[in-house]
Amino acid sequence: MESTYDRVVLGADVNGLTTACMLAKKGHKVLLLEERNHPGGIAMGPDGTENGLLLHSSLLRNEIITTLDLTNFGLQMETEGPLWTYLDENGDHFNFRSDWSDEAQLSKLSEHDLMAYREYRRFTGKLKPFLFKIFSEVPPDLLKPKSGEVWSLLKKLLSLKGLGKKDLNEFIKVAPMSMKDFLDERFDSDALKSVLAMQGMRTSFSAPWSGYAVLNLLIWEAVRGKSIVGGSRFLVKALEQAAKQYGVKLAYGSQVSKIITQKGAVTGVSILDHPPVKTQTVFSTLGPKQTFFRLIEPSVVPAKLEYDVQNYRSTGHTAVLRINLKHLPKGLQKESVQNRTFLASGTLMDIEKSFDPVKYGEFSNRPVIEFSFQSKVSGQSDITSTVMNATIHYIPFALKHGWSSKKKKELFQNVLERINSHFGDFSGLIVDQRLMLPHEIETEYGVERGHLYGGDHAIDQLFSRPFPSCARYQTPISGLWLCGDSTFPGGGLSCAPGFLCAKAFLSR
């Protein structure tokens, strides 16, 4: 590590890596500091060899793959979108391909649902170009709009008119709706309803009865793509290779203790057990609370900014479970679990009932579970082991009377019971397991309040993300930029926040 860099990026998650690559590619001298001993953030498992906490990696934009030439660095994309398997309460299951390419899989649907579903596909397909464009560009400056931006915003709005009166009306009507109202209007199939509902609810504190979730579903439909072969860890590997190639200085195991400022402008960063590094520009992948309350001198943070940071809603309600298994549960083969996610949720009403307790700081005895399997080849031997990754909703960050090992055990039993009801032999397959509660995710992965998407994707935190004064990545503190999941367009391993931040910086 040298003593001076043009730009310092804090956090080597997929966004930090993307920002660093983009800047280095343009000839900037970039230092990327990462607290853990390996890159990836939540996209990489605990020891740097497994997939991370999120089960999906299908939001990566083609534009980023080509700009950073990631295919050359080993990134491979699946030819199809992820497969969803809804586990029915009566032991049956239901498969959907998330790009819904394969209509044969929909044959279990009733004639009515199939028609409604085709109409849904047509409608979301019509919205896709418009929403995709919005979520692929640096958001306009709503505080001080420049004429060019106003024009481009107007153009976007006019392009909405191209939807035609009927679809535009429908879009405006359904966007603020709750999943329940929206899906009940269309479909009868519980499987279809639950799988779709989860896509719009995962990123916020919402359940089927909560309003505005439909907008998130429509956005997801517009930006989702193919999955990464092997999962999120291969995205991290490709980005790491790219960063090395473009000349980014990668410093793992470096704990940043302060962002140094003088007269309200960034001048460097302090690193634990290391001399400070001078720089004029710092890019933080950390959340606003960590960036502004932990790394910045309090006197430098203006009162309004402090208020906004305080009120940014980023409390996670998802626990993560990782189980090493002897082998896959009966009926599943190695090939059949690739690029596939299972959902044990029950109907929309069941999901809502799983959600109710979290509002009071409690958890349900029937949590909603999404899970997938991955095979892991350990270093020396050629023995393949099987790992199950699961995300469990809705788990309070702060339990009413505090978390204890007893309570944690109880939660694990609840989860196990539900999985057992679908795979009878499951308990017997467990070699070891680790359940991580939201506050443990925060400690271990440095993710603010354990929120896996960098803060709720609620409307007021989506387009002006995290809040208006930082909505275009630049913060009120001169030389400090945000480039993590807490910036537009939000979390989900799309790399888009890092990419757009670098773009905004380079075109400033």
């Binding site: 008119k161 009166k165 405006i172 009865w209 309003g211 009120n311 007021d460």
Partner: protein, 529 residues
């Protein structure tokens, strides 16, 4: 019998009467047909028990537009609204919180629970009142149609754009929060005390099938800051003679301009010929003809009952059926032997002359909603109670009082099916009385009579489909140019010469009179009548 009118108004609710008054004032020949023996719709006063006059359904007023009062000369016709000065919150632990019209007094009370909240409280009121003025801009004009390139719509949008721009960036963001956040999340950003947040958050859920944690409820908080009495913002009031007094004033005003009003004249259907409304048929077979027909009924009744599916385009029928009504509240009116006293703040003081909220904490309120989600009435409900007789003793015999309780949640769609509400009616009434009795010792012995209205009863007696007190949910997808359905939001319908003037059209909800006024004005403006 064959007199031809310029306009027939179906339904004598307060909006229908306001509409009639404006049309009559413009010299039109108007006939109002009301199903019941009494006028007012949900804004009605009835002597339900000898000597006791209840504001049966709607019980307080705040949003009635001041210019309507002026233009229709309502005070001359008996309009008299007495401001309510207090919002009282009794607590189960014997404590209580009263918020007063006098800000200093409120702050003193709040500071007992949180010094910080007491400091923030005036600032919050200021900001909300400011935002309320913007909302006023919205409710005082027809909602512009976003598809239209007509000058009126464009200028309407421009006017709104300007009003929003004047807010400045910070308030604009706050506005986005207000429209999309939940009432509780929004209040969490301002206050720390649950005891303050609980009674404040309920203004976000009144009349909705949503909870204080449901996104979209923060917006309804504004309604509390939009109220205008005598031009003063954010005050609520009691109508002299009950809320029916307002309807009667509107009716007298309409009659003074020459309108004809007939009660006990239920309309069966609208006569339609060649896609045009020609008049109406009563249930007894009588026919009345007019150049225009205006329906004060909710969109569901207007389209599906008065007009009928067969006369409507298929996509309109589909949209009308999507329109959500889902009533969520009931009403329990009690005739009392004496004035009720609260154990937490004894005496019959000024704190009882406003509204009284049973909303002890936010968890209580959200749990009340949880039950409703699954089709049960809340066994621990949110109650907003008033004792109108302390302000207007003429409503009850000397020394006697009325305790009128608005109760949420009582979902129309209970899991047994709405037609089973009559069997649950008394249990529902008992729940409310039991809850109130926790705060009012000896309440049960004071009760002389009780009237329990479930959403089913509101539908049966007042014609409010699914018992929805606002003629349709006030959620974003059913507001502005989408109320009740996109394309027919500006008081028109697909049937030529058939108009709508109830709460089911913009701006909808509450005793505002705005829907009736805007309907009449837009009819006159377009020379439809």
């Amino acid at each position: 019998m064959r007199t031809k009118y310029d306009a027939i108004i179906v339904g004598g609710g307060h909006n229908g009467l306001v509409c009639a008054a404006y049309l009559a004032q413009a010299g039109k020949k108007v006939l109002v047909l009301e199903k019941r023996y009494v006028l007012g719709g949900a804004a009605v006063s009835e002597e339900v028990f000898p000597g006791f006059t209840f504001s049966v359904a709607s019980y307080v007023v705040s949003l009635f537009r001041p210019h309507i009062i002026r233009e229709l000369q309502l005070p001359k016709h008996g309009y008299d609204v007495i401001p309510m000065d207090c919002s009282f919150l009794p607590l189960p632990n014997g404590d209580s919180l009263a918020r007063w019209g006098d800000m200093h007094r409120s702050r003193r009370e709040i500071s007992r629970f949180s010094k910080k909240d007491a400091e923030v409280y005036p600032e919050f009121s200021k900001v909300m009142t400011h935002m309320g003025k913007l909302a006023k801009e919205v409710i005082d004009h027809p909602a512009p149609d976003i598809h239209s390139m007509k000058p009126t719509d464009l200028s309407g949008m421009l006017r709104l754009g300007k009003a929003f721009k004047q807010l400045g960036p910070d308030l604009l963001h706050l506005n986005v929060k207000l429209i999309t956040m939940s009432a509780l999340d929004f209040l969490d950003q301002w206050f720390e005390s649950d005891i303050l947040k609980a009674p404040m958050s309920v203004s976000g859920i009144i009349g909705t099938y949503l909870g204080i944690r449901s996104p979209g409820t923060a917006y309804v908080l504004l309604h509390h800051y939009m109220g205008q009495l005598d031009g003063a913002f954010r005050s609520w009031g009691f109508s002299k003679g009950g809320t029916g007094g307002i309807s009667l004033a509107c009716a007298r005003s309409a009659m003074s301009f020459g309108a004809e009003i007939r009660t006990e004249s239920p309309v069966q259907s609208v006569i339609i010929k060649g896609g045009e409304a020609k008049g109406v048929v009563l249930q007894n077979g009588d026919e009345f003809y007019a150049k225009t027909v205006v329906s004060n009924l909710d969109p569901n009744r207007t389209y599906l009952k008065l007009v009928g599916e067969e006369a409507l385009p298929e996509d309109v029928v589909k949209e009308v059926k999507r329109y959500k009504l889902r009533g969520s509240s009931g009403k329990v009116n009690l005739a009392l032997d004496r004035a009720p006293e609260f154990s937490c703040r004894p005496g019959i003081g000024d704190h009882l002359r406003g509204d009284i909220a049973i909303a002890p904490n936010t968890e209580y309120l959200e749990k009340a909603f949880d039950q409703a989600k699954y089709g049960e009435f809340s066994t621990r409900p949110y109650i907003n109670a008033v004792i109108p007789t302390l302000t207007d003793p003429s409503l009850a015999p000397p020394g006697k009082h009325i305790l009128s309780c608005f109760v949420q949640y009582a979902p129309y769609h209970i899991k047994e099916g709405p037609e089973h509400w009559p069997q649950l009616r008394e249990a529902f009434g008992d729940t409310v009385v039991d809850t109130m009795a926790e705060y009012i010792p000896g309440l049960k012995d004071m009760i002389l009579h009780r009237q329990v209205l479930t959403p089913w009863d509101l539908e049966q007696s007042m014609g409010l489909t699914e018992g929805n007190i606002f003629q349709g949910e006030l959620t974003l997808e059913q507001l502005l140019f989408q109320r009740p359905i996109a394309g027919y939001a500006k008081y028109k319908t697909p049937i030529q010469r058939l108009y709508m003037c109830g709460s089911g059209v913009h701006p909808g909800g509450g005793i505002m009179g705005a829907s009736g006024e805007l309907c009449a004005k837009s009819m006159l403006h377009s020379k439809a009548v």
